[in-house]
Structure formats: C-alpha cells, structure tokens
C-alpha cells in the first residue's frame, strides 16, 4: 500500500519538477520535489524502498536526457540510502530537523549529480553548487517545512511525531 502511494507521489514529483518548479523559480533556485519524495519515502518505508524509489524515479527523469542516463538514478538512490540511514539517529518530530535533513539531502543530490556531470571540470563544481545548489536546497527545505506542517495538521504520526 505504502509502496503504491510512494510510486504515485514519485510520479507527481516528476511531473511537478518538470512543470511547477520552473514556474516558481526564484533567482535561478528551484525546489526539488523528487528529492522531497525520496526523503519522506525513507522516513515512511525505510532505507531500501527509498533507495529503489530514488533509483526508479531518477531513471524516469534521466530518460529526458539520454546522454546522462543513470545520473539522476545514482544521485537519488544515494539520497534514499543516506537519508534512510540518518533518520534512525534523529529526532523525527521536529520541523527544524526535518528541514535540515531535506536541505542536506537536496545538497547531496546536487553534489553527486554535478560531481559526475562536471567530472572533467571539477573547478566548476564549487561555484555551481553555491550559485544553484545551496539556494535550491534551501528552497526544497522550505517545502519540507510545508510537508511537516501539513502532516501535523493531518495527524500523520510517521512524519510529524517521534516514532
């Protein structure tokens, strides 16, 4: 059941990344909805399913850019694996903790992605992360706070309260 919900959320996130994110771009920074879904997948269903969800969602996104097929899959599966492992050591029912984790996950995604993307021009990595990675991660973290508040309002204990 949860896997089905996650698959639906991942599909929505892929669409939102392609359609909504460019519309709400602020100074070049866009929220990463797929990262958001993978982070909360790791919280809801654990590390392994989150890693697989990240990989599959990444593959779908990669199909848009065949030259780098597998790159988003790699970055998002890393996000699923790392956040899933980190959750076990964190206080879950805290909005700041969740926002920080979403921020870190988004940044991790960008680091992995651009590390491979700019593998022949690693000097580009730092400026690019500062210009787009950090603002985008902050933007995504804001949406993490929105998810937290909505989950708390809906009484969704897995996200808004300590397990």
């Amino acid at each position: 059941m949860r896997i089905g919900v996650l698959a639906a959320l991942a599909a929505i996130a892929v669409i939102a990344d392609a359609t909504l994110a460019p519309e709400i771009e602020v100074l070049g920074a866009r929220p990463d909805f797929i990262v958001l879904v993978v982070v909360y997948a790791s919280l809801l269903v654990g590390t392994r399913p989150a890693t697989i969800v990240g990989f599959l969602a990444g593959l779908v996104v990669d199909s848009e850019l065949p030259e780098y097929l597998g790159l988003h899959a790699l970055a998002l599966s890393a996000v699923g694996y790392v956040t899933g492992g980190v959750w076990d050591h964190l206080v879950r029912g805290n909005v700041f903790v969740q926002c920080t984790l979403v921020f870190g996950a988004s940044l991790l995604h960008d680091v992995v992605y651009y590390l491979v993307y700019y593998r022949n021009h690693l000097d580009m990595l730092g400026p690019f992360l500062l210009r787009y990675g950090v603002p985008g991660a902050l933007y995504t973290a804001v949406f993490g706070a929105v998810v937290f508040v909505l989950a708390r309002l809906a009484g969704w204990r897995a996200i808004a309260h300590d397990a």
């Binding site: 899959a73 790699l74 694996y81």
Partner: protein, 298 residues
C-alpha cells in the same frame, strides 16, 4: 572473497540495495550513446509520455480557461461600452426629434433641418450669393428656405450634386413678404440704396399710412408667396417715417451675414402632429421637470 562479499550483502541489505542501484546507474552511464538513446526512449514512452500528455492537456485546458475568462471580460466590457453608445444614440435621436433638427413655424407643418456649412460668399458690400457644402444628393432643392437660429438667411436658387447657392435676403434682387409680429401689418422687405446705388439699409415697403408699427417691433416672414414658411424672424424695426400714403419702415436684419458659418436648409415639410407627442412630453419632463398639475374643474 566472493563468499565474504555475498555474506556482507546479506547482512547489510540496505547497503547492498544501494550498491546495486549505484552499479546499475554507472552501467547505464557507461552504455554506448545509441543504447542510451534506445533505453531512454523506452523509459520515456512507458513512464514519462503518459504523464506529459496529461500535464500538457491540463496546462492547455488551463490556458483555454484563462483565455476564455479574458475573452468573457472583453465581451462584457464591449457590451457595456455598446450599451453606453446605444444610450447616446437614442439620446441623440430623441434630442434631434425634440429640439434639434425639426422645426415648426406653424401648427400644421414642420420642416426637417439639414445642417450645412458656408463655403463661399461672393460679392462686395452687397452679398449676392452664399455657397453651401450640401447639394441635391443631400436632399437640397431649389427654392428651399435657409435659416440660422437668429433668423432667415434666404432661399436656395441653384443646386449641384454636392453644393448649392443661396440668394440671401441681403441681395439686391431680394424681396420677401413679411409681417409685423405684434400688429400683423404686412409689407415687403427689400434692400434700399443710396444716391449712388450704394447699399444703405433694409426697409419694409407697401405699408399703409398710420399702420400700427413701433420701434423694436419684430419683423417675421408672412408665409405669402409660398417660399418661406410664416414666422421666421427677419429683423427688428429701427425707424418709422410717416408719409401721406405709406409708411417708411427701417429694419435691422436679425442675421449678421458677415459672421455666419453654419446654416440649416429646410429640406422638406411634413405634417406636424397636433400637440406634443408622448415621447416629447416625457423628454421635456426629463429635461425641465414636470409642469404644474392641471387644476380640476367641476
């Protein structure tokens, strides 16, 4: 070595899942471009395209809705503007009907007034002709009277398609049957000349001696002769001289010919409706307010 690796994977299933995913990702990244293209196409066709179609459809629908809303707004604005313009049109027609371009000089006939512009006034001290910018295609015909709000100008004596010529009251050959409005004394107004044929003034001739004429009396057309309708202002009595058989009456014309720019040609008559129509009465009420209620009689 391999067995140790497999045992590690079995013991750490999460890590193994990630390693498999990462390995698959690197394998995909290392595929030849043609294979990547084919794989991407399959993935896109199966997973991405259906969502894209849905999203595109939804966005187009949203666009159509937006456009529809904008068009509805424009249509509403145009409808409001049209309603306003129609109101002006009706008001214009009502005012024309009521006070503007129809005029009655007597109870049984009413004239349509065609506005025209003066485009020429040849002549010296005596104005012999006035040219107008309206002609036969506008409904102007020979013999039609021409007036301005102040009074009589003359009559049309020549017409072409787009122009017409007027013989003004001021011309040397002009002679118009008039009546003193107050006393109904009749006469004929015509120009008078000085000793060297210079134009001096207008006077009313053929007025019997001891007629009831005073300084300041209004001189109007009598309607005799059939050219001019009765009741059009012609001028004011400025001098009265008694002679043994007739009176010499000096008149100052109501119209200053030197300043006229626009005139009205009385292009046709139609029977005036007795009394005021309901529409006219209602509009007059709107314009000047209702009159006093009629008193009841036994």
């Amino acid at each position: 070595m391999l067995s140790q690796l497999l045992r590690l994977f079995r013991e750490n299933r999460e890590l193994s899942t990630f390693v498999v995913c990462a390995a698959a990702s690197f394998i995909l990244l290392g595929l030849p471009p043609a294979v990547k293209e084919g794989t991407s196409a399959v993935l896109a066709t199966v997973f991405l395209d259906p969502f894209k179609r849905m999203t595109t459809g939804a966005l187009e629908l949203a666009g159509i809705r937006e456009e529809n809303a904008a068009l509805r707004k424009i249509a509403a604005e145009l409808a409001a503007e049209r309603a306003g313009l129609m109101e002006y049109r009706y008001e214009n027609e009502r005012l024309r009907e009521l006070i503007g371009f129809f005029v009655s000089f007597s109870e049984d006939e009413r004239f349509e007034m065609l506005p025209a512009r003066v485009i020429g006034m040849p002549g010296g001290r005596i104005i012999e002709r006035i040219e107008l910018d309206k002609g036969s295609r506008d409904g102007v015909g020979s013999g039609m009277p021409v007036i301005v709000p102040e009074g009589l100008i003359g009559k049309v004596v020549g017409v072409s398609a787009g122009r017409s010529k007027i013989e003004p009251l001021a011309s040397a050959s002009s002679a118009v049957s008039v009546v003193i409005e107050r006393s109904r004394v009749r006469g004929v107004i015509r120009p008078r000349y000085g000793p060297v044929s210079d134009f001096v003034s207008w006077g009313v001739d053929y007025v019997p001696a001891r007629s009831d004429i005073r300084l300041g009396d209004l001189v109007i057309t009598s309607g005799l002769g059939g050219v001019y309708p009765p009741g059009i202002a012609v001028g004011t009595v400025i001098s009265v001289d008694e002679n043994p058989l007739t009176m010499s009456v000096g008149v100052r014309l109501a119209v200053d010919y030197a300043t006229i720019e626009r005139v009205f040609v009385l292009t046709g008559t139609r029977e005036a409706t007795p009394g005021r129509s309901d529409l006219e009465a209602r509009l007059l009420d709107e314009l000047v307010g209702p009159g006093p209620m009629p008193e009841e009689t036994d």
